[in-house]
């Protein structure tokens, strides 16, 4: 079945190409269904190809497609191992549901087929990234998803904010990409190849501690850009300008997890650098609590989810940094379920409210949109980490693994625990503000439940958010066994075997989740003036959180403004003055010399004759004089 694996990438790509050329004839909703069918078929193929891994004992295989640059070990080749299989199934599975949801959400948009062109192109790029058998092909996918993110964030490019957000996402990602690229060059300089198999098997022989640390930190720079970690997270909240299915697909479930995937994939390199791993975990923990605190105070429903995503990605970094790769990938998977669900739910709410995103103007939607409310409630509980939903198992495993690692990681564990509490609080706040209480809508809002094409994906994701965590519980570590072949070269951090300790840790994180959720419920399930006063009582902290610590302003003043100034000076002083001046100067010199010599050309033959004769005479005299 692995012979057909190339179709997993080719089908969405074919969908994108055909929709690009013929989408306008297919119109709505046929083009959407075609795109959904393309990625759905990719899911089926991937699922069938992954069956041997589920049965166990199957080795990873490399499928060579085309010799691209054999000299640097960069061919188009697919690495089909459990990790790639899991990522492919998440991308295609969640992706299919989001594609279907988008058919309803994008209804009536002028450029409906173009949206699905980009969505399919994104799916093909993301699958290139996760199926790549070497760093070069991975980087190809890495850049392509960045491009698709740009196209989709800026899908409504006639809004200046959307165009600016798309540009910002692209530029910030580019900063991370530079680090990643330098890291890859270092990898190539060390190993002479970019192929995964060639690198990982020889990592122990070639890598010194310092080199491994350098590579690890440079990969972290790239991952921090793509996965929106401190200090490069600022693009993700702005990226919410894109249509909501884009936020769900790219900025929650798939693309932003690419950084986590790359670190997990590079685990054999991190194996030799505990220092870089600790930095990864610390960045993750800091990002988790930082973004969670910002999410507390946001009014825009999508902004809450955006900061929540940053925070949860921080959790994943916390896991892979503690070398608990399985826990990180596990959380990546469950997060893809419940965060896609929450985003799509938010999309359904926004759709119902007629493009209103301010939670202060919602309320009481439970009766108007019951399916959205209940499914989002499930997603909220899963995110909060209430057992036995998906988020509980994965988050708990991350915290337990950090605790088991000890030392500095005790501190990170505390941060994680506090973040879990904040997470439960803000997501409860979101749900209560949107669905409970008295309606605070504008006069002309007429909320209605979304069509079935939107609610069915919500229900499917809600089911996954409930049962998704059961694939890896302390009672049955199925995912761990499944992923074992991918991490056989590294020592994966596990939670403690001590049952009592495990129960205590689980109890603590459950307690944190319940406390956060309870506080959120008590604070917000009250009349508006009461919870407004509650928020005011936290001033000026609340305002700081609502303004996201003013990081955007800071970056604007410290980085963007000098950058603009530099560009300005380069464009209008250096380029216009010095470069253009030199070019114009040469032109003026030639012109002046010509101006000065042109009277020589009188146009009278006689003058030329005299000069000619005079010249000949000079030559003759010179010859005769014995020159």
């Amino acid at each position: 079945m692995t012979d057909l694996l190339w179709l997993v990438i080719a089908l969405p790509l074919a969908g994108a190409v055909s929709l690009h050329f013929f989408g306008r004839y297919l119109k709505e909703p046929l083009s959407g269904w075609l795109a959904s069918a393309a990625i759905g078929a990719a899911f089926v193929i991937a699922a069938v190809a992954a069956v041997p891994f589920f049965q166990g004992g199957e080795e990873a295989s490399t499928i060579a497609l085309w010799e691209w640059m054999p000299a640097i070990g960069a061919s188009l080749e697919l690495l089909w191992d459990p990790l790639a299989a899991l990522m492919t199934l998440v991308v295609t599975g969640v992706g299919t549901l989001i594609h279907i949801f988008a058919i309803g959400y994008m209804h009536g948009d002028d450029r409906f087929p173009r949206f699905f062109t980009n969505l399919n192109l994104f799916a093909a790029s993301m699958l290139t990234l996760v199926l790549a058998g070497n760093y070069a092909m991975l980087f190809l996918g890495w850049e392509l998803v960045g491009l698709c993110s740009y196209l989709l964030v800026g899908f409504w490019f006639t809004r200046p904010t959307a165009a600016a957000a798309a540009k910002k996402a692209f530029v910030v990602n580019r900063i991370g990409d530079v680090g990643f690229m330098v890291g890859l060059m270092l990898v190539f300089a060390t190993f002479g190849t970019l192929s995964f198999s060639g690198i990982f098997e020889r990592a122990g022989d070639e890598l010194t501690g310092g080199l491994a640390t350098a590579i690890g930190l440079l990969i972290l720079v790239g991952a921090a850009g793509k996965s929106a970690q401190i200090p490069l997270y600022v693009w993700l909240p702005d990226a919410m300008e894109g249509p909501t299915p884009v936020s769900a697909l790219i900025h929650a479930a798939t693309m932003v997890t690419a950084g986590v995937y790359v670190i997990a994939r590079s685990a054999p390199i991190y194996e030799f650098t505990p220092f870089a791993s600790t930095i990864v975990a610390s960045v993750g923990a800091l990002t988790a609590i930082w973004a969670a605190s910002i999410a507390l105070a946001q009014r825009d429903i999508k902004k809450v989810l955006a900061y929540s995503t940053i925070s949860q990605l921080g959790f994943m970094f916390l896991a892979v940094g503690a070398t608990a790769y399985v826990a990180g990938i596990f959380h990546l998977m469950t997060h893809a379920f419940f965060k896609a669900l929450l985003f799509l739910g938010a999309g359904s709410v926004i759709h119902a409210m007629g493009d209103e995103q301010d939670m202060h103007k919602m309320g009481g939607l439970l009766r108007k949109t019951p399916i959205t409310a209940i499914t989002m409630g499930v997603g909220a509980l899963a995110l909060a980490g209430i057992p036995p939903l998906a988020g509980f198992w994965s988050k708990d495993e991350i915290l337990a693994a950090d605790f088991a690692r000890g030392g500095w990681f005790y501190f990170l564990w505390v941060i994680g625990l506090v973040t879990a509490l904040l997470t439960a609080f803000y997501i409860t706040r979101l749900w209560v503000l949107v669905f409970l209480g008295e309606p605070r809508w504008d006069e002309d809002a007429h909320p209605h439940e979304s069509p079935r094409v939107m609610t069915l994906p919500l229900i499917a994701l809600a089911v996954l958010s409930v049962v998704g965590g059961l694939v890896n519980t302390p009672f049955r570590l199925a995912l761990e066994h499944f992923l074992e072949p991918s991490f056989e070269l590294v020592s994966v951090q596990h939670a403690t075997d001590d049952v009592v300790m495990l129960v205590i840790l689980a109890g603590l994180s459950t307690l944190a989740a319940l406390a956060g959720a309870g506080a959120g419920w008590l604070a917000y399930n009250r009349p508006p003036q009461r919870w407004r006063r509650f928020e005011d009582s936290f001033e000026p902290l609340w305002g700081t959180w609502e303004a996201a610590y003013g990081v955007d302003d800071l970056y604007g003043r410290v980085l963007v403004a000098p950058g603009m100034k530099l560009a300005d000076v380069s464009a209008f002083n250096v380029d216009a003055g010095i470069v253009d001046g030199a070019v114009n100067g040469v032109g003026r010199l030639v012109r002046n010399v010509g101006e000065w010599t042109r009277p020589l050309q009188t146009g009278f033959v006689r003058n030329y004759g005299v000069l000619f004769l005079g010249g000949a005479l000079v030559v003759v005299v010179w010859l005769v004089a014995g020159g």
């Binding site: 009277p599 020589l600 050309q601 009188t602 146009g603 033959v605 004759g609 004769l613």
Partner: protein
Amino acid sequence: MVPVDWYMGLAAALFLIGALGMLLRRNALVMFMCIELMLNAVNLTLISAGRVMNDLNGQVAVFFILVVAAAEVVVGLAIIVAIFRRRSTASVDELSELRG
């Protein structure tokens, strides 16, 4: 036998006449004839020198010059005729389009 200096003197005189005519006359046809005069003055020196030095190369060179001159005359006359047809004048002072 006439001394070779006389031939050289004649050639110099012919060349001078040709050069002066070239510079002073305005009629393109006359200037053209002056050029021929100068060419033939040179031919004369070549033959004379060849004779004195007892070297046939002088005469060989003259044959080449005659051939080239004939070809040049064909082209030159054609150009002059063409100019005359267009402008109904053959005065070179009128033809100063290439003035800088």
